[in-house]
């Protein structure tokens, strides 16, 4: 019998192309860009991690989640607990357990542990939430976000309450961010082509038929939920180590909607959509930002008024959604097609 090429081989071009796009941007900015522009790119890459993390759950399950920025919050604070110098922690976060108060861990082990915290949280809460479907599930995830935000805003001895947590080493640079974004893309791709990913996308289309096909929807949803919590947690870790300072309100409604907007504008059902949505919106924002500063047109400088950038980005999004309701990518994956490949190759969420 002839062996069909494996699903991995058939679909691997998608993550590779996406990573290549991000790498190209990172390299170009590193070579030619200014410091502030480099920061813009790092921020974009962190958003890629977040949005791809959200996509793992939302894109495959079809359930819009408002709660994933909450996982980012858990990850960011866990990173802070693990990496802030003990002296600072003993002043501002006195309620932490002894071993955290007295130790400071290096970045990578801490990043892993900090990303695991939201995953564990998702594993505990997930079995309850995953019983819900549709908009009830969305509301429940929003309630989860509100609970996380309220607790972190007021649990002063452990989270510092509404005040900023400071002293987080600022180690996130373009390469770490690029590495993590690539990692997130690979994880998301591996999940998408996994058994669970396929089963969950089937359930997204037709929950009832999926059950009749032997799919345990709650279980598959939970797997996606936990995995996406892990990746969103990693986005939180990156963010904490990027700014060096975090507050609970950085992980609330604005962040949630910005992330969801990028996802929807890119195309909610495809991994490529998640990544391209972030890149596209980030680029538009940067262009508008330059226009706010003024663009030299011949002899005169033309500038749009301060604050017009936000209005413009909203309008751009509306226009895109009107003309491409399924997002820029229209739920397709970017693939490298060679003629010999059979059409069946597509096992990513399809058009």
């Amino acid at each position: 019998m002839t062996r069909a090429p494996s699903i991995m081989a058939k679909t691997v071009s998608t993550p590779l192309i996406l990573i290549a796009i991000l790498a190209a941007i990172a390299i170009a900015v590193d070579a030619f860009g200014s410091g502030p522009l480099a920061r813009t790119v790092i921020e974009m890459l962190i958003r890629v991690v977040l949005v791809v993390g959200i996509w793992i759950f939302v894109g495959n399950s079809g359930i819009i989640s408002f709660g994933h920025v909450g996982f980012m919050c858990l990850g960011a604070y866990a990173a802070a607990w693990l990496t802030i110098p003990p002296m600072l922690k003993q002043i501002s976060l006195r309620g932490l357990p002894e071993f955290l108060l007295e130790n400071q861990f290096p970045f990578w082990p801490s990043a892993l542990a900090a990303s695991l915290l939201p995953a564990v949280f998702a594993l505990i809460l997930g079995p309850v939430l995953m019983r819900l479907a549709g908009i009830a599930a969305s509301i429940a995830t929003f309630a989860m976000l509100a609970v996380i935000n309220t607790v972190y805003s007021n649990w002063s001895t452990v989270t510092g309450g509404t005040s900023s947590v400071i002293g987080i080493p600022t180690v996130t640079d373009v390469w770490i961010a690029l590495g993590m974004a690539s990692g997130a893309i690979v994880i998301a791709w591996l999940y998408a082509i996994s058994r669970s990913g396929l089963a969950l996308r089937a359930a997204r289309d037709e929950a009832i038929a999926a059950q009749a096909s032997g799919v345990n929807i709650e279980r598959e949803r939970l797997i996606a939920f936990v995995l996406s919590a892990f990746v969103c947690g990693a986005a939180g870790v990156l963010y904490a180590h990027f700014l060096g300072i975090i507050t609970p309100d950085a992980f609330f409604l604005t962040a949630t909607f910005v992330a969801l907007s990028m996802l929807v504008v890119g195309g909610i059902n495809s991994l490529s959509g998640a990544v391209i949505g972030v890149v596209f919106i980030s680029v538009i924002i940067q262009l508008l930002r330059w226009m706010e500063r003024g663009v030299q047109v011949g002899e005169t400088t033309v500038a749009i008024p301060s604050g017009a950038q936000e209005i413009a980005i909203g309008l751009v999004m509306i226009v895109i959604l009107i003309f491409r309701p399924a997002g820029l990518l229209g739920n397709r994956e970017i693939v490298w097609t060679s003629r010999r490949e059979p059409r069946v190759a597509r096992t990513q969420p399809a058009e």
């Binding site: 400071i166 700014l243 301060s306 936000e310």
Partner: protein, 396 residues
């Protein structure tokens, strides 16, 4: 950070704000403003920035600093933290000798941390958290304002001494650290005063649509308190005051400086028995006539009088920093910090200021007390707390 390789591909637009009034030349002294020109924080950053510009213009008119002109450069934080850090970096790349950051600690810190990482002095425009300085940024960071806790402590002492209040009710808005700071100062000072009793406490959140339940609790006290310490800020504070007064509770309400300004008082018709600590009066009745001269100059320059006392720290900031630079004979950060830390009760237009190597903020300050009667605010007293608030209390 890549600070040298720039511009080839992405154009010069990325480097320096176009809002910059003049191109800084080699010999100029540059003050970089990484503050909000749009978004939520804009309304809070703008007045203090304008006041700072007035002081800069004064110095330039008088021949400059160390014989050089001061040139301000700007980058918009867009009221966003990540943008704030980027704005900080931008003004530093534009050659800032000192970086001015957003009024609020949370929004200003990212830019201040950028400055700190490059050993530049940063000044918070009007942050009132102890973290706005050494504790939250590093040894090169200062705040131009006074700690929120001092406001709470001032109100506790003054209300007891001058209003004869002995029973207090504390209503805390848990929305921000500033609010909590006022209450922390009050909670530290009030119990130390002989005979003072806190008869009740409650919390709310700034954006609560209604605080009816909290008010019901106050009204159900066996005796009305002598005063209510209200630790809150805009916009929720207006709503809270209005609801308290509409509920028929007429006892004195004590506040932090955040409610200064008469612009909101239409919301509570014939507001009375309302007390605010201020660094200087915007109402034309400051005991120091120079303050009123400043108000007039401000109006001439920007078309309106300062709307609240929060313009003043901007003026104080440039004033103190320029003095320190003059004394050090250089803009070099280490030398200027050293001079700033030598300042002990350094007189300014808005009261004396002190910096030490432990604290780059005011844990004791002279406050004017503004009393609102029938919607008319007026300075009725001045008060300085007995002793500075200890650092341990502030850091709690």
């Amino acid at each position: 950070m890549q600070t040298t390789r720039r511009a080839a591909l992405f154009g010069a637009a990325a480097i320096v704000s176009a809002a910059m009034p003049a191109i800084a030349e080699e010999e100029d002294i540059v003050i970089g403003f990484a503050v909000a020109e749009s978004g939520f924080m804009q309304a809070y950053d703008e007045p203090a920035t304008q006041a700072a510009l007035i002081r800069i213009e004064e110095i330039n008119e008088e021949g400059g600093l160390l014989g050089r002109q001061i040139v301000p450069v700007f980058a918009d934080t867009k009221s966003d933290r990540a943008e704030g850090a980027r704005a900080g970096l931008e003004v530093i790349e534009a050659g800032a000798d000192m970086v001015v950051v957003s009024c609020d600690y949370d929004f200003g810190a990212p830019a201040a941390l950028m400055a700190e990482a490059q050993n530049k002095i940063s000044f918070f425009l009007c942050a009132e958290s102890v973290r706005a300085g050494i504790q939250g940024v590093g040894p090169h960071s200062f705040s131009a304002s006074v700690l929120a806790a001092v406001q709470g402590a001032t109100m506790a002492e003054w209300a007891h001494e001058e209003l004869g209040a002995t029973t207090f009710y504390v209503l805390e808005d848990t929305w921000t650290e500033y609010n909590k700071g006022i209450c922390d100062g009050f909670n530290w000072r009030a119990p130390q005063i002989e005979g003072v009793e806190i008869v009740g406490r409650d919390t709310f959140v700034n954006d609560d649509a209604s605080i009816a339940a909290q008010i019901t609790r106050i009204r159900n006290l066996p005796e009305p308190p002598d005063a209510i310490m209200l630790c809150s800020m805009m916009p929720g504070v207006v709503s809270a005051v209005r609801q308290i007064r509409n509920a028929g509770i007429e006892v004195p309400i004590l506040n932090g400086s955040g409610v200064d300004g008469s612009y909101w008082m239409d919301a509570v018709p014939s507001l009375s028995e309302f007390y605010i600590p201020v660094q200087g009066s915007v109402y034309g009745d400051d005991p120091n006539p120079a303050v009123e001269e400043f108000n007039v100059r401000f109006e001439e320059r920007f078309g309106a009088r300062p709307s609240s006392q929060y313009a003043y720290p901007g003026y104080v900031m440039v004033d103190l920093w320029a003095k320190a630079v003059e004394r050090a004979g250089t803009t070099d950060a280490a030398a200027v910090v050293e001079e700033l830390e030598k300042m002990d009760e350094e007189p300014t237009l808005f009261g004396p200021r002190t910096f030490t190597s432990e604290l780059h903020h005011q844990n004791r300050a002279r406050y004017h007390i503004v009393k609102v009667t029938d919607g008319e605010p007026a300075v009725v007293d001045s008060w300085t707390i007995d002793e500075p608030i200890p650092l341990e209390v502030l850091l709690q």
